[in-house]
Symmetry: D2
Subunit: 291 residues, 4 copies
Amino acid sequence: MFVGFVGLGGMGGAMAARLVAAGHRVRIWNRSPEKLAALLGQGAEAAASLPAIGEAAVVISMLADDSAVRDIFLRQGLLAGLPKGTVHVNMATVSLELVRELVPLHQERAVSYVSAPVLGRPDVAAAGKLNIFAAGAADAIDAVQPLFDAIGQKTWRFGTEPEQANVVKIATNFTLACAIEAMSEGAQLVRSHGISPQVFLEMLAGTIFASPAYKIYGPLIAEERFSPPGFKATLGLKDVKLALAAGEAAHVPLPFAAVVRDNFLDAIAHGEADLDWSVLARVAQRRAGSR
Amino acid sequence: MFVGFVGLGGMGGAMAARLVAAGHRVRIWNRSPEKLAALLGQGAEAAASLPAIGEAAVVISMLADDSAVRDIFLRQGLLAGLPKGTVHVNMATVSLELVRELVPLHQERAVSYVSAPVLGRPDVAAAGKLNIFAAGAADAIDAVQPLFDAIGQKTWRFGTEPEQANVVKIATNFTLACAIEAMSEGAQLVRSHGISPQVFLEMLAGTIFASPAYKIYGPLIAEERFSPPGFKATLGLKDVKLALAAGEAAHVPLPFAAVVRDNFLDAIAHGEADLDWSVLARVAQRRAGSR
Amino acid sequence: MFVGFVGLGGMGGAMAARLVAAGHRVRIWNRSPEKLAALLGQGAEAAASLPAIGEAAVVISMLADDSAVRDIFLRQGLLAGLPKGTVHVNMATVSLELVRELVPLHQERAVSYVSAPVLGRPDVAAAGKLNIFAAGAADAIDAVQPLFDAIGQKTWRFGTEPEQANVVKIATNFTLACAIEAMSEGAQLVRSHGISPQVFLEMLAGTIFASPAYKIYGPLIAEERFSPPGFKATLGLKDVKLALAAGEAAHVPLPFAAVVRDNFLDAIAHGEADLDWSVLARVAQRRAGSR
Amino acid sequence: MFVGFVGLGGMGGAMAARLVAAGHRVRIWNRSPEKLAALLGQGAEAAASLPAIGEAAVVISMLADDSAVRDIFLRQGLLAGLPKGTVHVNMATVSLELVRELVPLHQERAVSYVSAPVLGRPDVAAAGKLNIFAAGAADAIDAVQPLFDAIGQKTWRFGTEPEQANVVKIATNFTLACAIEAMSEGAQLVRSHGISPQVFLEMLAGTIFASPAYKIYGPLIAEERFSPPGFKATLGLKDVKLALAAGEAAHVPLPFAAVVRDNFLDAIAHGEADLDWSVLARVAQRRAGSR
C-alpha cells in the first residue's frame, strides 16, 4: 500500500519502520527533517514537500498534540490538498474536541477519517506489538487493516464514530495514571510504617496485579527512577486533562482523575515537570513528610 | 504439628481443610458449631471447649473482625489460658490498633504473636494457593512455616513487628479497591460516550493490566454481576477505613482512599451494602445519571 | 462622561441604568435589541450600529462569556474600530486565557484595557452597591473611576496587570461555590441524623457565618428553592472550571474545586443544569440516599 | 442553682466563672488542681473529692475529649455516684459514639443527660456570649436554662435526642474547617498569580463573607500567624474525623471533609501539629511550591 506518514518522533518513527519492513511504500515528512535519515536508509522515500504526502492513498499522522495536528493539516493545508477518497488515519492521542472539529472538515472533502490511537511505548512499537484502538467507517478501517497488522499485535474496534477510539485511549491512559497513583499511595503507606516499598510492589506485581503496568511502574516507583522519563509528568497532566474534558462532555464525574490532576500540579510546582509521570510517587512521599 | 484453629468461615474452613489434608493434627472450634461437621468428617478433631484449643502448640485464628478477636481471645479468655511458648498466628485482616493492643498482652504471657493475613478468595484457599504476608519474630514464623506451606503458594515476610504484615494486607486491599474504582470510572467514561464497557475492560485485562485483579473484576463490572457478592461493599468500606486509619497513624494522606470511602457510603446509602464491592461501578454509573 | 455599553443582560442593564441616572451620556448596543427599550426610556441613546459604540471615550462590556467577547470585539470588529486612547473596561467574568489574548491586541491599537469584574447580583447592581475588582494601568482606572462610583459601593484595586482582577473574581466565585458545597454537606449531615437543616443553616447564618453569602444561600438550601435560578449550575461549573484553569496556569492544586466540579457534573447529569447552583445541596442529598 | 463543674480548662474555667458571677453555687473539680485557684477566689467552692461533685443538682462537664469523659464518669465512677434525678450537662465536643454509650448508662441510673456543646472561643465564653446547642429531654433542658442564660447569648434547641446537639456541633466545626480550606486555596490561587492574599481576604471578609469566621481567620491566613494556636491542627483533625464518623454512621459522603482530613495529615507530617488549624493555608502554599 502507498502510505504517507507525518510525525516521526519516537513512536511514529518506529511505526513507519514497521510499515517499510512489511513491504509498504512509505513516503515520509517531518517538521524536523533530521529524523528522516534512518528511515530513508531503510527504504522509505522522502516527500518533496508536505503536499506530496497527499499523493498516497492513506495518510497516517502521529503528531505530538492537538496543536501540531491543527498546524500540519489546517494551517499548512495538508487536509485541503488530499484527494477525495484518501483515508487519513490519526494514530496520536488527541482531544475529543479536535476530533469533533476534524471529522466534518474531512467529510466535506470526502476524505475518510479513522482514529487509531495506540497503546505501547516505542520499544513495543518497534517490535510491532502495539495494541491499536480503531474507530471510524468500517470500510475505511478494513482498507487500512493491513497497515495495522504490520504495526500492532491486535486491532480493537470500538465503533464507527472516530472519537470513540479516542475516548478509549483517554480512558486507558487515565486508568494507568490511577494505577500509578494507587501504587504510590500504597507504597507510601507501607514506607511510613517501616516496610520496604520494593518488596510490597514486587508482591503486587507478582500476585493479583501480575501485569505489564505493575511490572513496569512498580520498580520505577520502588527505586525512585524518575529520570530519564519514559512519559513526562507534563504529558501525564495533559492526558488526565483530556479525561476530565471527556468526562465533562458527557457529564461523568471522575474523582480519581481530579486527585491525579492535583498531584501532577504538585509535582510540576516542585520542579518535577520533566520527570517520568510515576513521579506521582514522590508527591505521595512529600505529602507524608518523608522526603 | 498440633494446631488449634478458631474461625471456620469460608476462608478459615478452607485453610483448616488444607492443614488436615497435609497431615497435621487440627483441633477446631467455631462460634457456630454447624460449620464443623465437614471438617470433622475430613479428620479434624472437635475441641471439647474453647480452652481446649490452647492445648495445641500453635493456635491459628481466622476471625471475622476486630471485635470477634477481642471476644474470643480477651473476653472469653482464650489468650489467658495459652501456655507459655504457644504461637498464635492471626491470619485475618484486622486493624493496626488491635495488633498494637494484642502484642503486649501476648508478650506478658510469653506467647508468640505472628500476623499472617492472606491474599486470595475461598477458592484460592481451598487450592492451597494463597499468598501469605507474615511478620513477627523470625523463629516463630520459622516454626509455623510448614503450616503456611500447606495453605499458601508463597509466604512473603515483611518484618519482625507483627503489625507490618497487617499494614501490607491493608495496603494491598486498598490498592485493589483503587483498581476497582479506576475500572469503574473508566468504564463509565466510555459508556457515556456510547462505547461498550465490556470491550474496554476486556482490552485492559488483555493488555497492560493482564492480571487476576482485572480479569476477575472487569467482567463483574461489565456484566454488573454484583450478586452474589464475593466480598461485600460493607467489607470494602471496612478495609478502606483500615487504610485511612493506618494512614492517620503515620500521617500519610491517602486521597484515593477518601474517594473510595465516599463511594462505598454512596453505595450503602442506596441499599447496596450486601452487593459485591465492585458495586463501585454502579456508583460511578449513578453519578453520571446513566441508571 | 461619554460611555459606550455593550452587553445589556440582567447585570449589564442595571449597571448601564446607574450610569444614565448619574448623568453620564450612555450609548448602548445589544445583540438582542429588545433589551434596549427600557434604557432608552431612561435617557440612554441607541447606537446606530456596533461601530458607533466606539465613538465614546470609554467602552464598557458586560458580555455573557469568552465567546461573546470574541464575537463582538474580534469577529465583528469592535476593537479594530476603537480610536487610539479609548479605554475598554471589561466587567464580565472571563477566563485568564481570554485576557491574555486581548491585552496585546489592545496594546497594538493603543487602547487601554481595564479588567473590572464585579461582585453582586442584579438587584445589587440596580442599587449601585456592587463591589468592583479593578486591575490595569493606574491612569486608565483613574479615568473611569467616576463610572465605577456610579455603579459600585467600592472599587478594590488589585494590580496593574488586567488579569489580576480576573483572578480575584475567579477566586471569589470559587470561594463562594465552596461555601455552598460546605453548607450542602453540613446540611445533609444533620438531615441524615434527623435534625432540621433549616435550623442548622439559620444558626450558621446567625453566628460565625453571619454574612450575605450564608444568609442568601442558607435559605435556598434549606427550602430547596433552586428555581428560578439566580445563577445556574452550568454557570457555576463554568466558574469552577475557570478556577481550575487559573490554578493549572500557576501550578496550584485546588482539591475543593475538583470536588465542586464533579458535583456540578452530577447535577447536570441528573437534569439540574438550569437550576440555581445551590443545587449542590441536592447532589449531597442524593448521594446520601435521602431523595 | 447548685452546680457541680468538672473540666476547668480555658473554656470550662470561663464558663464556670460566668455561673459564679450570676450567683449560682458552683462546686468545682479538676484533674490539675492548679487551675482552681482563680475560681475559688471568685466564689466557687472546691469539691473535697470527685464524688462530692455529685451532691449538686446539676453536673456540668467540659472535658477535653472522649477519653477524659470516660475516665471521669466511668472509670473514676462519677456517674455511678450521681443520685437519681441529677442532670448531667455535657458541653464538650465529643463523638456520637460516646454519646450513644453514655445515654443508656445515664438512663439506667435515672440521671438526665443533656448534650450542650458550645460555639465560641474562651474570650467569647468569658463574655457570656457563647452559642449553646442543646438537645435532650425538654424538661431537663428547661431546668438548666438559667445556667445556659448565664453562659451564652443564645440557646439553640436541636431535638430530644442528646446526640443531635453533638451532630450540629460537629457539622458546624466541619463547616468552619471548610471555610478555612476554601480561604486557603483561594488565597494561594491569587498569591500564585502575584496578587496580595491579604487584600483578597480583606475583600472577602468585607463583602459577601462579612462574618466572624472570615474576619478571624482571614488575617491569620494572610499574615501566616499560626502561632500561638487558638485551636490546634490536631484538634482540627480530631473534629473532621468526628464529622467523617458521623457521616459514616448515617451513610453520608463528605468529600470536603476528606480533603480537609488529608490536608491536616499533610500539616502534621510537616511538623505543624501544634500550629493553629488555619495552617491549612500553609499546606496549600506548600503544595503549590511557593514555600
